[in-house]
Symmetry: D2
Subunit: 345 residues, 4 copies
């Protein structure tokens, strides 16, 4: 997850069972409950609900016939605090048609993605508009586990990618290289270690990291692409990279492209608690109970659920049965977007 | 799912919002809420809780050093009604070590599985004990989608299987053939159609169907193997086969071997509701509320959750991030079990 | 191979070592030497060289900007004997661009293939031109071994195919179903057995079988698509199916679509012999030797080589290192051709 | 290829067509003909035939019940020149049973391989016998293209490997990490570039590189494992790595483990020429011609063949149709050998 909504504990339940929950959490070594979303769009929705949106964050929306764009820009420390995400641009492309076998919609998305990659890459590299990327070296990184379907977006995009380094370097065109670093359970190495080494040897100017994302809401699955200029943050993605991949850790600018393919199981549990609270609140007999539950705060609610479902709940994710088709479709859309951004085809 | 716990609706909420829930359900064409488990063991747990265990069901447990066996036998119509599963034997092998890279435990499980396959196959084919299976033709079927990790158990087992039909038929040994029929989204055909055709042409004596299962409880994931002599029932498995694969539909006995790799998302939601109810019940302020929620019944509870999470919730499943390793390990354990059952190696 | 060029033995060498070669062959249980090509185009080239082209065979060529078409029609028993292939139409589409990442050429090939599939399917089903295929049921079969790269064309095409049976049957459109039957080493069943069963159950009107082919000449690899209305003949394909898949064996018309991905190793050996013969013939010292070698005939030549290279030579094939890219590209071209033939998209 | 048999041109044909062959070769930019073998065993056979074995090479053979060991040691520059391979130890394990589903033979090979890995790793790291490898960090590299069956040995071994770095580092045991770097067509990077970077970052003590090999003789395919302490040399392997992976290029010792899965197509052609020569020599009419052909030398012979078969011949390889099974079996044998070498299991 790119943001940890580190919920403040409100100790409504504390009066009747003093400290119980807190002790248990400490024992398990977790101070803070985390509910994951890798989408800034969803962080912003959360922030708004909580009334925390500041002038440290700008926000704009526009659309084409098929695609709705939302751009969240985190501008300073104030914004970072409010949104729980590092400074930078977070752009989402959303369209219902992306969730289906709608080839025209995916074609349109690839075109729009290409334009936005050019814009963000241009900004990251200090290019003027229309200047192009002659001789610029781009390393595309396919994050995730190729053997776990909802985590295989990155490796699949790389499978479609036409690399050009060592093959067609003529100085006038951008140069693409690509790597599928694997996941730590397979390599015993942090992705950041592998990439730092490769970057030192091959000296690219820009990294584009592709990753499957965790969303907060089920309806984002397979309908959204997120493009950022902030890289990959610790704990994000389906495969949960420990270390971040950012300009700070890698030494060069990092764009990231992601598609939400899972929702964390805790999100389902918390939405259920919210549903229960709402029902309690609308019944005359139980009026007041719902409000009481809402005021519990997400952390208490989660601890409550975790007692029943077990501590492993936080590791589990929810995904639809046709996720293989979703990943396949988006892998083509994203690889086409990248080719088109740099080669215009 | 192999059982539909067709919950009776208890209309606790009806007093304040008469008929609302029911109308909505009818509109969506669903009469009954289904919470899935493919494990008879778990159905029995549910049945016991509900006080519905009859003499139509027998039950025994035993264990080896590493493995706990539970055998549920549904004996007649009374038992079928109580457990929501067709007559037959449902055997589970459970061991914590199966969830880990514990090779000795998996070796032991393969040995024990082989013995039980021999027993159930012998019973299904009317063999006396120790008689062996000379010339018996067995068709092993790998159900599921090879491209969706938690649904790929069947295809993976078939990848390990050594078929012998057309290669080493000498009359004195059993003869294995195998097929990966694919899923309906890929073939446009029901698995039952494909298998009926193949069975008519190749005339096996017995089918062994391998399938990934949905459990009710997270702690069964990757720790349990279920072996039955009742085949595959409609709606069961991760991939949700529409038609069953049974002696009735295929014309020959069908054993099934399965491993739970997912829990349906609704199960998580209902467990959350139960957790909330328990908390409400233990707080002095809210005492009575918890009982009220419990009495709502699973169907009301589910409808409540579904309003928030959306109707697609029923299609989603929960699975752990290391499911690829689990499926790989069990695919070897099961293929070894089958080889050993019929060839003693 | 779809044709066995059963070479008559000309006993040039017989004078000096009477019967030696023949005895050896008999001992190994092989009466006839077979040099494989699955391309009728190449059989015809062989036949012409041998002066055996009759009026039982018609032949026409035409071209579009990018693609050269060659249609060989075997019209009667005389033609079958001359060409060593059953009666029917054998159409090839050839283009250098198909061997490269030339997307326009592949797009053009998909369009042209679609038109030709419509023509041959129309003829096979007794349709008038322009009548379309409303309600016609088509079973697409992906032959070959998905785990052996040059043999994986069929399974890969099926991976791209959008089946419509059981999903969108409205009576006005053609209905596609699809199956990857696997290879006998994995299933223990002949492909013909599997398909006969499925056809009896699901009653399609037409089979389209996709298969990787063996060519005679290296330059055909990855540059040619062959479409026939004669099905798959015994011994053809990379995976060497024992039984044929034809109207006779399956009971319904069978189109086949194939791409050469390998050349049999014996072809390389014989081409080498020919090269040696040509060199000997042009040297003054050795003039006459070349002619002598040519007159040996393919069978003697092959036996000669087989003594050195071993009897397993016949099983081996030659393939280029980038065969994975070739198979991937053609799998899209063919699946698009099929979609377009029946759905116009 | 690990050795280039840079054949001296003997100009037998020159008298009648002066310089023709040479000019053609120069035009194509190739000075030297290369016939590939990655097996030192086969280089030695070639060297012996040519009478070039010196005291710069030592050689010993031994065997267990099932496995024949051959160890070639190249000791100095004289030996390097004679064998065309760099100084070091080249050990082969051969057994007919490795080519079949003979599990006992593969188990035995894994045991023996483990012992030899320990021996060579100990020598490379300056360990005394029996000292073990506490805290030694080993990077296992799976070379080759996972999507091309005979080139997929390395990636498949890595798929079976249990890495321990970052998971179970306790100082007393060796520490394994692993990487599948991909091939240059997919990454745009030399494998040496990728590995140098990773080695600088993660500081292993030893690399073990796994690669599919090209043999000279068909009968080596799938029956032989080669273990060396000399790394991977430029041009070797099925995938033809341009740069070598050696102590010189990577800065740490490199063991390599390989299994021959292909024979280069030129080898088949040259064996055919040899067969023709032998036949010519034994016929009274043509006596003298065979000797003449033999004296041509491999380079002339190859040029002769290349004219007919086309310049791409050098890129093609010959492989058996069941290569998927061979690669799968050896991938387990090698991963078990490595686990056992360092963890004794």
């Amino acid at each position: 997850m790119r943001v940890n909504r580190k919920m403040k504990m409100r100790r409504k339940m504390g009066s009747t069972q003093p400290g119980a929950g807190r002790k248990k959490r400490r024992a398990s070594g977790r101070e803070h409950f985390e509910i994951r979303t890798d989408l800034a769009l969803e962080s912003r929705e959360g922030a708004e609900k909580a009334g925390t949106l500041h002038d440290g964050i700008s926000f704009r929306e526009w659309r084409t016939e098929q695609i709705a764009f939302t751009e969240v820009e985190v501008k300073n420390a104030q914004g970072e605090k409010a949104l729980g995400k590092p400074s930078g641009i977070y752009l989402t492309l959303e369209a219902g048609g992306l969730g289906e076998k709608d080839e025209r919609c995916h074609k349109d998305a690839a075109d729009q993605l290409a334009a936005q990659i050019r814009r963000l890459a241009g900004m990251a590299l200090g290019k003027k508009e229309g200047q192009g990327f002659p001789g610029v070296r781009i390393l595309v990184v396919g994050l995730g586990n190729p053997y776990v379907t909802p985590d295989s977006l990155g490796p699949r995009v790389l499978g479609n990618l036409q690399v050009t380094r060592r093959i067609a370097e003529d100085g006038d065109r951008p140069v693409l290289s690509g790597i599928v670093p694997g996941v730590m359970a397979q390599t015993g190495m942090e992705t950041a270690e592998i990439l730092r080494g490769i970057i030192r040897e091959t000296e690219p100017d820009l990294v584009i990291a592709i990753d499957a994302l965790a969303a907060r809401s089920l309806r984002r699955l397979g309908t959204t692409i997120q493009l950022t200029d902030t890289g990959i943050h610790p704990g994000s993605g389906v495969g949960n990279h420990r270390h971040g991949l950012t300009r700070e850790t890698l030494g060069i600018p990092v764009l990231s492209i992601g598609v939400p393919t899972v929702v964390g199981a805790p999100a389902i549990a918390l939405d259920t608690v919210a549903a229960v609270a709402a029902v309690l609140e609308r019944e005359s007999r139980t009026k007041g109970m719902g409000k009481w539950m809402e005021e519990m705060g997400a952390e208490e609610q989660y601890q409550l659920v975790r007692e029943v479902l077990g501590p492993e709940l936080g590791q589990l994710y929810v995904t639809p049965p046709d996720i293989d088709e979703t990943v396949k479709r988006f892998s083509f859309t994203i690889s086409e977007g990248i080719h088109q951004a740099f080669y215009g085809i």
